[in-house]
Amino acid sequence: MLAYALRRLLLALPLLLGITFVSFIVIHLAPGDPVEMAGGDVPMTQNPQVGKWREELGLDKPLHVQYLNWVSRLVRFDFGRSFAPHGRPVLTMIAERLPITLLLNIVEMLIIVTMAVPVGALSATRQYSAFDKVTTIFVFIGFATPDFWLALLLMILFGVQLGWLPISGLRSMNWEYLSFWQQQGDFLAHLTLPIVVATFGGLAGFSRYMRQSMLEVIRQDYIQSARAKGLAERVVIGKHALRNALLPIVTILGLSLPTLIGGSVIVESIFAIPGMGQLMVQAAFERDYPVLMGNLVIVSTLTLLANLAADVAYGLVDPRIRVGRRRR
């Protein structure tokens, strides 16, 4: 098992390199470069020093040289500095944005899982019941609702009309003057709407997966035999069916690990939360290559690791998969 994991890990390295190479090319294919984009409507190109500045950023070199330079810095864990006027280290920029995005997405994921599993399981065991139909309708509404629209409606209702919750940002303007516990409460209040909006859409998808997976499991023979043994329905569903139905959900969870740090552009922009999503969108608009590539390396590494972890976890959970591989 360990050898298998190690081999997969080694194979992931060239894959990662390939991903960065393709991305590097694609990112540079987009028209415009950081120097041009900096000027906005009045391009900086009228400036006689622009050539020097391109040189300074290394943009005058051929693309493959730029890539090799970037890779050689990367292997020393140097992600470079942003091309924006502040020129801050990419890792610092990511480090200050990551915590809030992680917090938001982990909380969101936890809420989704704790709600989706029972809801999905219930609607599967009571297929076509009133409960199933209501959740189905709810789920489709959730699927069909655009994030930004729901966000605006909630902001109008709870922020403007009722005034119960803050509209945007992470902290109130008088935050420094609050007591410790008031500060925590204030922070939570600011997170409420973004989490509700982000959860709403995700809940829909996950509960559907869960329902589907559960439906498949309860039609299996071993469930039938469990019932035939005279086990209580609670045990049949809770112990035999649910566990097996959770397997595919674990896979999907594993694969959504990278989205945990990717951040949601829409939710972050509309609620003015300075997270990873916003950072990336801005970097893309400004053609801030080091920031884009830095983030890409982190996300693709995580994706590869998540894939690997999911495969390994499969083997651990389900011995048949491991045996099957050995035979091949």
């Binding site: 009228q46 924006a84 403007v160 916003q278």
Partner: protein, 539 residues
């Protein structure tokens, strides 16, 4: 100092008289926080290396230039007490204010002025403002409070170019010397200026907080704290305004006209409206024979109903443009009349230019070729898209076919504008406080990286531009620019459409705002909130 402040402000505490407010109580007071909202991110706290609006707005809180712009866009002293030009416009002497200190307590001297110039011109400083100083020969400190600038040739923008924020030599010199200004702490975590507010805190992508500078050389500003929030969504800013979470923000035309006209909003905010600094135009590639004919361009100008366009696109919140000078400024020639809406005249002009016959589609034809062309504009600007559609419909009426293409900004710039690979464009120009527009209209400026995108070449215009930028006497320059305005209006190298109005709102608890041609922000450090209206505890 409090006394001085009260005396300074009492007479002009001219906030609009709010309804139901006791007028006697409107006296300046220290305290409160002002919250501003910006869509754009701050890209550096040394504004000298940035070109985005947010960085400059934040920079204005913390830095001073030698000169600044007053209410009527006139140049007034900031760190400079006075200045004199030599007769030949080649020497500019500044006398600096005395007793000014940087936020860290060090004195501000003429040496810092020299340093700011050196920094700007340093090859490793990524400053977009170098072109303002290309004609500077020498900058010398002639004593601690006197600076002499020598120019190689007369440069009209000379005075105004010294509105550039002054930078502290004692903190930044070693960074500039190593070509590493971007890595200096002043760039992000510890900016030091001479301005009315001191840096307090920066949360990147979230907000910048500054607090009143008690030792400010013009007196401590009344409002104790400013929070500059980054809110990337215009819709969110608007909801924050409704919930009174933001004190100063800019509205869109639709919000100004249709969504804020209810009593609660009008009580909580004062809306302002003044001519903005940018105009939108419909421009042609003048290398194309069809557009090189002035009659065709004038015909197009006659065919477009600008007032209707203004009403349709920005709900009438703008001014019809007759030329490239901001309405109401000294360079603007009020006698120039725009080209009136007159489709009949348009058709007559097109016929004169040889476009007489019509084909089966109703399009004008010359030498067997129908008059159709492509119009490009950039994505993400709804106004320009609407304008393109209105132009398309208007020109169709006189028998000209227009195909609209909307492209991403960078692609438009690189593939079409720079390569001069376009028929026509709908874009905008921003104008600075000085009317010099050499880079936009002069025939020498039509290279691929230059800004004369339309390849305009008119000897009279060239001569006027050269004369206008090489004089430092405003009375002389007025003549050149008024004439230039007339020539451009007659020639219509592009169809000047409209100046969009700036539409800011400010919380009605804030007093001391005096809107003028320069907008409302020019005296922001005199704004105050009367004690009984203060909302936030701050310092």
């Amino acid at each position: 100092m409090l006394l001085a402040l009260a005396a300074g402000c009492n007479g002009e505490a001219g906030g609009p008289p709010g309804e139901g407010k006791p007028s006697g109580a409107i006296t300046p007071a220290y305290g409160d926080t002002r919250i501003e909202a910006s869509i754009g991110n701050v890209s550096s706290l040394i504004p000298n290396v940035t070109s985005d609006a947010a960085s400059h707005e934040v920079g204005d809180f913390m830095y001073n230039g030698l000169v600044t712009l007053g209410r009527d866009l006139e140049v007034t002293g900031d760190l400079a007490k006075s200045w004199t030009f030599s007769k030949d416009c080649l020497t500019l002497d500044f006398k600096l204010e005395q007793g000014v200190r940087w936020h860290d307590g060090q004195p501000f001297t003429a040496d810092d002025v020299v340093f700011t110039w050196e920094t700007t011109m340093n090859a490793k400083t990524p400053s977009p403002y170098k072109s303002d100083f290309l004609d500077v020969d020498r900058v010398e400190a002639r004593g601690p409070h006197e600076v002499r600038i020598s120019y190689k040739r007369p440069y009209a923008k000379a005075l105004l170019s010294w509105a550039v924020p002054m930078l502290p030599r004692h903190l930044l010199e070693r960074w500039v010397r190593d070509g590493k200004l971007r890595e200096a702490p002043q760039n992000w975590t510890a900016p030091i200026g001479t301005g009315p507010y001191r840096f307090k805190e920066m949360k990147s992508g979230e907000k910048v907080v500054v607090v009143a500078n008690p030792d400010y050389f013009k007196g401590r500003p009344p409002i104790s704290r400013i929070v500059y929030r980054i809110i990337p969504s215009q819709a969110t800013i608007f909801l924050e305004l409704k919930a009174k979470g933001v004190d100063v923000a800019a509205l869109t035309a639709l919000q100004y006209k249709r969504q804020t006209e209810y009593p609660a909003f009008e009580k909580a905010y004062n809306k302002y409206r003044y001519a903005g600094a940018g105009y939108t135009y419909f421009g042609f590639n003048l290398k194309d024979k069809r557009f090189a004919d002035r009659r065709v361009r004038r015909a197009f100008a006659h065919a477009i109903n600008k007032q209707e366009l203004l009403d349709g696109v920005v709900l009438g919140l703008g001014r019809r443009a007759t030329g490239p000078f901001r309405p109401g400024t000294w360079a603007d020639n009020p006698e120039v009349k725009g080209v009136p809406y007159d489709p009949k005249r348009a058709q007559a002009l097109l016929a004169e230019a040889g476009w007489r016959e019509r084909n089966a589609d109703g399009l004008l034809v010359k030498d067997g070729v129908p008059f159709t062309f492509e119009l490009l504009t950039n994505q993400g600007n709804d106004e320009r898209k609407k304008i393109a559609e209105i132009i398309q419909a208007s020109l169709r009426e006189v028998g000209v076919g227009v195909d609209i293409r909307v492209l991403e900004w960078a692609a438009l710039l690189k593939e079409h504008i720079k390569k001069r690979n376009f028929d026509s464009i709908v874009l905008g120009w921003g104008t600075g406080a000085d009317p010099d527009q050499y880079v936009v209209w002069h025939s020498s400026q039509s290279g691929p990286d230059d800004l004369n995108h339309i390849s305009y070449a008119n000897p009279e215009v060239d001569a006027l531009l050269e004369a206008g930028r090489s004089s430092c006497v405003q009375a002389e320059r007025v003549r050149y620019y008024h004439r230039l305005h007339q020539v451009l209006a007659d020639d219509q190298p592009l169809v000047f459409l409209y100046w969009r109005d700036a539409l800011p709102v400010v919380s009605s608890r804030i007093y001391g705002i005096q809107p003028g041609p320069a907008g409302i922000k020019w005296n922001f450090n005199d704004w105050f909130v009367p004690k009984y209206l203060q909302r936030y505890t701050a310092g």
